[in-house]
Amino acid sequence: MSEFYTSTDHFVLVPALLLALFGCFVLLADFLVFPRPKHRRYVVILVALGEAFTGAALWRQHSFLSAHDLASVSAFHGSLVVDGMSIFFNWIFIAAVLLVALVSYRYLETEQEHRAEYYGLMMLAQCGMFFLAAGTDLVTLFVGLELMAVSFYVMVGFLRRDKRSNEAAMKYLLLGAFSSGFLVYGFSLLYGLCGSTRLDRIGEAVTERGPFDPIVFLALTTTAVGLLFKVSAAPFHMWAPDAYEGAPTTVTAFLAVGSKAASFAFLMRMFLYPLAGARPAWEPILIGVAILSMTVGNLAAITQNNLKRLLAYSSVSHAGYILLGLVAGNETGIKGMAVYILVYLFMTLGAFLVVVALRRKDLAGEDVDDLAGLIHKSPVEAVLMLIFMLSLAGIPPTAGFIGKYFIFLSLIETGHYVLAVVATLYVAVAIYYYFRIVKSMFVGEMTDTVPLMGGFGMRIALGVTGVLTLLIGVYPEPFLQFAQTSLGR
């Protein structure tokens, strides 16, 4: 170890190293394994192995922190950190990648675009997500963000012959690059404030200058534009419906949970630490954005017939709910955000998995009508989808209710009564379109008799998401404790 790469640096970096390493292994496997279709499953096994090693590294970091009773370990001159938040979010990324990789196999075979680069891109995107969750320096965060974003641009456009996939990738890239431009402009102003790119020094400078200092305000707004775009909060959500609809459905699922979780980690890291001193300036902005997101997301979802677009707009509204936790800002609020993101992972992923299952040879299976009569065709999937819809709407005893409960509790605790009422009203609105889907499944007439996509991976993934969505709702204690760890700074 040299003075520039100490053992502490190594300890903090190991998960990212493993992810990048296994990402490259997967790319190599493309030559060795892919030409023979029977051996393709080894690539998924390789991905699972990589995730297992990364999980082991995370576990080691977590036990180190608790054994030495430390809140965080900082490395690379303060640009990377291991703390509760980074460990929590990294577990979420591992779960997302594993579940999506399990079902991608059959899906890509059906789309006839099964290439190993897909899995490589997923792991490298996860490497970028790691830096978003663990970075404490503007440079690391920006490069990690772009690492994740560029992988997603490619994955969204993965179905080369499909016009909608091309268009989705193009729109996502243009709007994504545009918002990155705003983000780095804000970063340049933050750098100019204090002459350092480290978040703690920037925090000191921001607190010193106060929230309504013109340069702080400008830095805040431009950075917020970039951050809010990535979490698809209105009015920066325009890319989401097209990107979600055009991308291959497994990529949409990964985008909806992985990218969103990583972007929220980034957003929390920025708003809670360096920009904390500017709260009086950004709180009203976030309140407006949250209300707008809930409005746009819920109202637009009512008229959608395409399942992927509907879920895209619903995820815009969920971003609004999560932002309300940040607006509240107290311990319950931040814990509520963490719980909601954990819950959101399983319920949204589950819903998208059912949509993936609807894709069969020559049948796109993306409309609400394709779900008609599902209860007769595949009762298991129909019941699971019912659970996911109940959870997304926030109805007890599902996980979604737990998530919303903490957010609303934090709003009431900090005196934002009006916001709590507005949010509850929108929950009622959302019930309408979620139940439209349920109605179609249980009451509608079957349009075709082709069975849904099955397979070992799909069954495991659906089982895991379904069980957890119910379990978190019925027995939330261990998961609440897990979310509590994210608060330890």
Partner: protein, 167 residues
């Protein structure tokens, strides 16, 4: 002398920027962007950023813009069709309005900065390749290594998306 150089190249940069936004044919816009990058390179030199000025010309203007020009030529991209009247008016009004607005905002911004000394050519000599290299390989080594993965993804993406069908 510094003031004259700054004003000259700032004017060229803004003129090329306006030209980029206004021109119909993408080739003209691409060449205006090269003009912007060239004048910015001179401004970087005035600010003492020797390495960045060289990198701007070699990498940005010399590699990335050439890539743009290749693609424009390859696709034989023609000029835009005549836009209908309404959006034309919005374009003519909107652009200078936005420029004025943000120029005003930035004036307010610089008011809030501590009064720095002016920029003199040669006052800052810390931008040599040695200094930048030292920073990149010691303090910023981590992001540097991450960018290597980023470049891998870019290469991968370009091949995955644009490769001719072999199978």
């Amino acid at each position: 002398m510094d003031v004259i150089l700054f004003l000259l190249f700032a004017a060229i940069a803004v003129a090329c920027g306006v030209n980029l936004v206004v021109q119909k044919h993408p080739i003209a816009s691409a060449l205006s962007l090269v003009g912007v990058m060239g004048s910015l390179a001179v401004l970087y030199l005035l600010l003492g950023a020797e390495f960045i000025a060289a990198a701007q010309v070699i990498v940005y203007a010399g590699a990335i813009m050439v890539l743009f020009l290749f693609v424009i030529m390859l696709l034989n991209a023609g000029g835009e069709p005549k836009t209908p009247g309404k959006s034309r008016m919005a374009g003519l009004l909107g652009i200078p309005l936005m420029a004025v607005l943000l120029g005003l905002l930035s004036y307010l911004v610089q008011r809030a900065l501590p009064k720095p000394a002016g920029v003199t050519f040669g006052a800052f000599t810390g931008g040599k390749p040695y200094d930048v290299g030292k920073a990149i390989f010691t303090e910023y080594m981590l992001p540097f290594e991450i960018t290597s993965v980023l470049i891998l993804i870019a290469i991968l993406g370009a091949i995955v998306l644009a490769r001719k069908e072999i199978d």
